[in-house]
Amino acid sequence: MTDNAIQVRELTKTFGEGRSFLGRERHVVRAVDGISLALRSGETLAVVGESGSGKSTLARMLVGLEEPTSGEMFIAGRDAAGLRRRGPRAFGKIVQYVFQDPVASLNPRRTIQDILEVPLKLLNGYDAGRRRARMTELLDAVHMPADTLNRYPHEFSGGQAQRIAIARALAAEAQILILDEPVSALDVSVQAQVLLLLQDLKRRFGLSYLLISHDLAVVEAISDRVAVMLLGKVVEEAPVQEVFARPQNAYTRQLIASAPKLRASE
């Protein structure tokens, strides 16, 4: 159990349960339907699926932004239900989240310093001097200049904003990062640099990644194992080479075949 950064069993999330005001039964959507997964420490597990497959709901449950309807979650060996009772800070210290749209995930009316200080102060309890030093270190780790601190999010491009968002996730000093489509809003050359950065950070800080993505090529480049999701269920889970070389499930094969390739005739 302790080898696993994240362990979920029979995790289910349904939306719209219960009855409406007039007593009619509501339409129930099973966004996540009995998923069991494990993210080993130090590895990158990719969760692949198309829109509506439930992969973002899964990710939001893992950081405590959504409450599962049923099932068990263990994060860094601790029961998530217990963590939830202790409030968002308990979650934030062990698992962090990187959002798809970096610009939307930074408050437009606060400086980068305001944004980065919050986790350092609230989650780690650092004093002002230590916070200052740590912020410089973090910006350095994501290759951003130190004068970033006094600027506002709209002054940065998408790639730079994503670096800042990654710095914020690192500030919590959590060992597990949930990356929700971290590069799909970025241009290809920026995407490549951010992927490179994520890889370096993982090695440097000994992180474990759960990467949510719809882009199989990105997944193949940086993950160790892949779980393919379809309509709330995991239909295939295997090491990355195996999934791409010998996909077992028909849907996985279709996904791989649909991905556009640079050299069409091969």
Partner: protein, 598 residues
């Protein structure tokens, strides 16, 4: 699309905030309001220091003196009190009560709105129904009832007015908060360890503040008016205290014998309220991001073309579409800056040309310039010729250009959910596209529209035609978009990132459909994308754009296999490909390392 929205306003954002004052003063009406209001406020503040007679000192011997009489500039009232002095002191009271009521209403209303919008669910329901109940009464009636219950007096009038105005703040603030409370940065703050109170005050409130200020500036005038109204009815200021409303009420009896007694406070109320209102409108225009981005500017039917543009000759007479030396730019704050420069592209009949570039490279502006669809203002076509079958598009008269749109050059856009009308069935929208260029009776229109929907692969097209866009999946909506583009058998289709918003499996289907249609109908396709994989699938030739310039053009496979320009090389190296595995990162690393130490 990407260029106009992303590269335009973002860098200007910081300057906009600094120059909010200047923007406000640029609005002449608002500036007049500001000056007038400052003057009035100044006089009211300085009332104790001004050499004015006691406003409450009665002098029955000098009652109802006319304006400009000795010692009394504005005359005296029915008790012989100096009107100028009472006016100054009265304005002071009225404004103080009005502004205080605004602040109280803003504080309470915004708090209700923030809590209700942030909490959502049952709390929201309960609080908003309470606010609805406040709104259900005619508000002056409600104010009267409150004063009646509390007893007449200035303070009670203030409470009444504040309470009556709470709903305006609560509803406006709640609407904005509701959207913000699901914003990603709020989730991010929660994960950073912030509690609810701290999120509301430090994350949500700063973003809601402009709405509160706008609401305050537009309701303050009303509140002063309402204060005067209550005093007029004798429920606000009590005699002998002067207040604009009570002065007006007391002067009413002398309206015919001494009209100045009621006209003077009346004019004062008018001046205060009108200056507040024009200033409030000005503040709203400055702060409302929707107005600032120019949403209220109505673009003309076609992009403005500069009068002395350079127009190169048509170098490819056989091409169905030929763009020669196009330069399109935007005018902002009187300064022109170009978005694309010297772009030359040509499309032979039946050919597919890919236009590829990163965000901000100018590919969408190029595509929209072809049919003059860049919004003007601020867009201007500065230079260049666009030849459609040899005719220059931008020399055509409006009617001819408009008749070419859709019939000879049709567009497919990125997000069909925003290009389809949400309130019309898809069948009707396709019919509309057909009837824009062909006169057919209802029956024939319907048949054509169903046939088109069938052609683009919508099953049970006759049934599906009755559906609305939101009932369709993203891929099906894009098929409808394609059906509309095909409606009049155009020679050229310009597809602007048509598959970017779609899942890969759906993308593969849509690309297959486009390929098939191109072969079947012999249309030329200008395909705009940022994805080299998509280009490889569908395009015969590719043009690579960077910073508004085409840096390289060539046949697709040649260009992909052997890119010449450094930028293209780097771009292609950064495309992850299935089958490369983790080699990809090593390759990218070498590209960027090489780039860092030249």
């Amino acid at each position: 699309m990407t260029v106009a929205t992303s590269s335009g306003p973002t860098p200007a954002g910081s300057r906009n905030q600094v120059s909010a004052w200047r923007l406000l003063l640029n609005n002449r009406l608002a500036a007049v309001g500001l000056v007038l209001l400052s003057l009035l406020v100044l006089v009211a503040l300085l009332a104790p220091l001004l050499p004015l007679p006691d406003p409450d000192a009665t002098a029955p011997a000098e009652r109802l003196q006319p304006v400009l009489s000795q010692g009394h500039l504005l005359g005296t009232d029915q008790l012989g009190r100096d009107i100028l002095s009472r006016l100054t002191w009265g304005s002071r009271v009225s404004m103080a009560v009005g502004f205080a009521a605004t602040l109280v209403a803003a504080a309470i209303g915004s708090t209700i709105g923030l809590v209700s919008g942030y909490a959502g669910g049952r709390t929201d329901n309960l609080m908003m129904r309470g606010v609805d109940m406040l709104m259900a009464f005619p508000y002056i009636l409600l104010a009267l009832a409150i004063v009646a219950a509390l007893g007449p007096g200035l303070m009670n009038a203030l409470y009444a007015i504040a309470i009556v105005n709470i709903p305006f703040f609560a509803r406006n603030v709640r609407g904005v908060t509701l959207g913000l409370s699901h914003a990603e940065f709020v989730d991010a703050a929660r994960l950073s360890g912030k509690g609810h109170l701290s999120i509301i005050t430090t994350e949500v409130l700063p973003n809601v503040l402009p709405v509160i200020v706008i609401t305050m500036s537009t309701t303050a005038g009303w509140m002063i008016l309402e204060t005067a109204g209550l005093s007029f009815l004798g429920l606000g200021a009590q005699p002998p205290q002067a207040d604009l409303g009570s002065m007006l009420g007391e002067g009413r009896a002398q309206l015919f014998t001494a009209p100045q007694v009621s006209i003077v406070p009346g004019v004062m109320i008018f001046l205060i309220v009108i200056s507040l209102n024009v200033l409030g409108d000005g503040i709203r225009d400055v702060l409302d991001p929707r107005l600032r981005s120019g949403a209220l500017l109505r673009p003309g039917p076609r992009t403005e073309v500069h009068s002395d543009r350079a127009q190169p000759a048509n170098g490819f007479p056989s091409a169905v579409l030929n763009v020669e030396g196009l330069e399109t730019g935007f005018v902002r704050n009187g300064h022109y800056s170009s978005a694309v420069k010297a772009v030359s592209l040509h499309l032979h009949p039946g050919e597919c040309l890919g236009l590829i570039g990163e965000s901000g490279s100018g590919k969408s502006v190029t595509a929209l310039s072809i049919m003059g669809l860049v919004n003007s203002p601020p867009g201007v076509i500065r230079n260049g010729g666009i030849y459609l079958h040899g005719d220059d598009v931008h020399s055509m008269p409006d009617t001819r250009l408009i008749s070419c749109r859709g019939s000879r050059v049709a567009y497919i856009f990125q997000d069909p959910l925003t290009t389809l009308h949400p309130m019309h069935t898809i069948g009707r929208q396709v019919e509309e596209a057909i009837s824009a260029h062909q006169r057919l009776d209802r029956r024939a229109l319907q048949e054509r529209s169903v046939a088109l929907l069938e052609r683009v692969g919508i099953r049970d097209a006759r049934e599906r035609a009755k559906h609305y866009p939101h009932q369709l999946s993203g891929g099906q909506r894009q098929r409808v978009g394609i059906a509309m583009a095909l409606a009049n058998d155009p020679d050229v289709i310009v597809a602007d990132e048509p598959t970017t918003a779609l899942d890969v499996t759906v993308q593969a289907q849509i690309l297959g459909l486009l390929k098939e249609l191109r072969r079947e109908r012999g249309m030329a396709l200008l395909f705009i994308t940022h994805d080299f994989g998509v280009v490889a699938e569908i395009c015969d030739r590719v043009a690579v754009m960077k910073d508004g310039v085409v840096v390289e053009t060539g046949p697709t496979q040649e260009l992909l296999a052997d890119p010449q320009h450094d930028y293209t090389k780097r771009l292609i190296a950064c495309v992850p490909e299935i089958g490369r595995g983790s080699d990809f990162l090593a390759r990218v690393r070498s590209v960027f390392d090489a780039g860092n130490k030249p």
